[in-house]
Symmetry: C2
Subunit: 449 residues, 2 copies
């Protein structure tokens, strides 16, 4: 069972910064070093930093609520953050989110190759295509391109980066001081990529990364996201409301991976788990209740407005939710409305509820949480979990101190690192040079068929 | 007097990797950590990492010589490299080169703001516009845009990044856990930039950097480069063949700075100094001779081909240099040819000489080198030096161990850090919010006049 930690390079969630035990050092290196050490002491496979390329805007197209409540801002650049964490550790894998929409493949390939060398093979890249218009507007666009266009660019982006990582064979460097011969030019190749989105001649200015390709992480839940993940991802990060939907998702992903000629056992599926640990179930519920109490209803409503484009602060906060047509995506507001009616919640109460929502809640004693995790593993829903913290560093400390010993006792997780690279930790083999052909090639065949 | 260190994130110069005392760890974090500690122990103001976004190509448009001789490749991404160095130090300033030609201002502004926060105000950005066609070809272009176009983009790039750094006032964050108020939205502003090269709405997703703006470094020697530096640069890095040309350059730069309404005392001019230290002048010359002996003539000719577009390997290496018309830029081959004739050097000998060339050579005893530096300071040619090493880490160790004590004895450099930020070390004040207006504004007035 694999453990990853989900860590914002800024305040956590809607309200994590406000927790009495939350550190406020998210602009300081020491904060990230402290968390990295907790995770490495607990033998986590990796820490994972999400990202967003804008201060979130919600209704009225304003960033005021995000700044006022600290929801989604600030966000430091994840790359320097994981580099600082790497410098403080020896084994922990480190993954940063970088958008294919607003970067150049040459730069991105070089950055991750550099990081993989400097960390001895511990780098991971979480590939996203961005999802806010506010992000697009920081890069010369009026609005985000549609999903098809974004994934089309992402596919080509991955092909280019993989080819650049392969542009030096594993045997270029000689460094023979005697003869003065530094490297073998015949083991370095231009890539001469000329595609719909990118023209890149290559080669990369950095030797092939220790891991061949850095570990590729992906979290797309849509059909195009799943296809993309099936082609390129080593680790798939997801979130599910139930064990059943998690099992269905895992089955679907593994089928898509196999259909592309890749080994389904070489993909790790990590559902989100926000753990709140107590001495027993009652104590854990109390702790969770204290966390929920921190949520200002307006902060939750602002987060909801950001997600579903509904501004309920215009209504009486102590009244019921209004019937609204055509808002949000995928019927998300409809679900919220039905939930509010069923539970007889006011707008204020829904704001509190929404702001306190975390992904894959596991509230209980260490035994309860280990039981749940074990059940998900046995059902084939997960290869491990992406642990999310209500507040940091303390909630990671709780998990490491309370749940990790129980998982070790059951023999579910390691008590020491056996390998050196992130691929080693995850049990993933090192990609062969040229493996991009198989991946990108299967996409091309599909388009031709 | 200010000390900066010039450090490739790869092999040094044409032949530095081949020196018997050179470390070969340029892909490893430990190599950079070791150098960072040498520099911090010697109280350097900063370390500076140059960059190039391609494997250099020379005649025949091939990267073969660069790989075979290790000239200009590999080049790690400087940003993770300086982040690793920052994590190992507490005072040393860290500057990375990033091109305005092939990055996005939002990303760049956020990366440096992040680094400035994580290092407590020790970040510097060396602004370049790139200079090789091989770089352009990794980013969808056939060839490098001309100098005017490159500087035009760079001007707008700097305006956008400065405005993004100012998009949060210094007083946004409240973080009042009691009331749940995180920040003051009225202290955060969109920038709504709409220019010839960039449309960026803002605000940045990161608070104003500790230094206001990270330290801006620039090395352009052309008139447009000098104007750019006069508007934006805090530190100017240059290279001179003689004290006279250095004095002229410094006088010209300070006049340009003053003409733009900036204080000429708030710009630091750091000429390159490649120091080879011996117990006396004769010992130093012997050491320099040993270094020169390492240069394979073909490696020097390949470097020359890269710089002046002349491939002399097609001729008899033991014959004289051919008379060639219209090669290289600014008559550079003509100078080389005249030098070869005057000194009666063969092509092979010129290859050796060219490959061993380093910038601002200072070969001598610690007293000799300190004398030269002092003379340059007194003549107004320099505010300090950009120390280059023939090989690393050893040559930095030689400088730190032999020359630094002599400079300290003379009271020319500090023996401890008094401030905390890179601006403190350099004696530069923190820019006020809105200072971009003065800088970019003067450019606009100039265009209108």
């Amino acid at each position: 069972m694999h453990l990853a930690a989900f860590l914002n390079a800024g305040p956590q969630g809607t309200v994590g910064w406000r927790h009495p035990d939350a550190g406020d050092g998210f602009l300081d290196a020491e904060h990230y070093v402290q968390i990295a050490r907790i995770l490495e002491d607990a033998c986590f496979d990796l820490a994972f930093v999400p990202d967003s390329l804008a201060v979130p805007r919600s209704l009225g197209d304003t960033f005021d609520p995000a700044v006022r409540w600290g929801t989604g801002t600030p966000r430091l650049d994840p790359l320097p953050v994981i580099t600082i964490m790497a410098a403080a550790t020896r084994h922990l894998g480190l993954a940063a989110t970088v958008s294919t929409g607003y970067h150049e493949p040459y730069n991105l390939a070089r950055t991750f190759a550099t990081l993989d060398h400097l960390t001895g093979g511990r780098a991971g890249w979480n590939v996203v295509t961005s999802f806010q218009d506010a992000e697009a507007q920081n890069f010369g666009q009026d609005a985000l391109p549609d999903r098809t266009a974004r994934y089309d660019r992402a596919e080509e982006f991955l092909e280019v980066t993989a080819r650049l990582w392969d542009s030096w064979s594993d045997d270029v460097l000689i460094r023979d001081k005697g003869s003065g011969t530094f490297g073998r030019p015949e083991e370095v190749s231009a890539i001469d990529h000329d595609g719909a989105h990118f023209r890149v001649r290559g080669p990369l200015g950095v030797p092939r990364p220790p891991q061949g390709y850095p570990v590729v992480i992906q979290a797309g839940a849509s059909p195009s996201g799943r296809d993309f993940a099936a082609r390129w991802a080593d680790v798939i990060f997801c979130s599910h409301e139930s064990l059943e939907s998690a099992v269905d998702f895992a089955r679907d992903i593994r089928a898509r991976v196999a259909a592309r000629g890749r080994d389904p056992e070489q993909v790790r599926i990590l559902p989100a788990a926000t753990t709140v640990v107590g001495s027993d179930a009652r104590d854990a519920r109390r702790r969770h209740g204290e966390f929920v109490d921190l949520v200002a209803p307006e902060a939750g409503l602002s987060r909801m407005a950001y997600h579903v484009n509904v501004d309920l602060t215009e209504y009486d906060l102590d009244g019921p939710l209004p019937e609204l047509e055509e808002v949000g995506v995928d019927g998300h507001y409809r679900e919220i409305l039905e939930f509010a009616r069923r539970e007889e919640l006011t707008i204020r109460e829904i704001g509190k509820w929404y702001g306190a929502r975390t992904e894959g809640n596991m509230v209980g004693s260490p035994t309860d949480i280990a039981d749940t995790m074990e059940r998900w593993l046995e059902a084939g829903a997960a290869d491990g979990f992406m642990i999310q913290a209500t507040h940091v560093p303390a909630a990671f400390g709780d998990f490491a101190g309370e749940v990790v010993p129980e998982l070790r006792r059951r023999g579910l997780i390691r008590s020491d690192y056996s390998g050196t690279t992130l691929r080693d930790h995850l049990g993933l083999r090192r990609p062969e040079p040229g493996e991009w052909r198989q991946r990108a090639g299967s996409q091309r065949s599909k388009e031709l068929s």
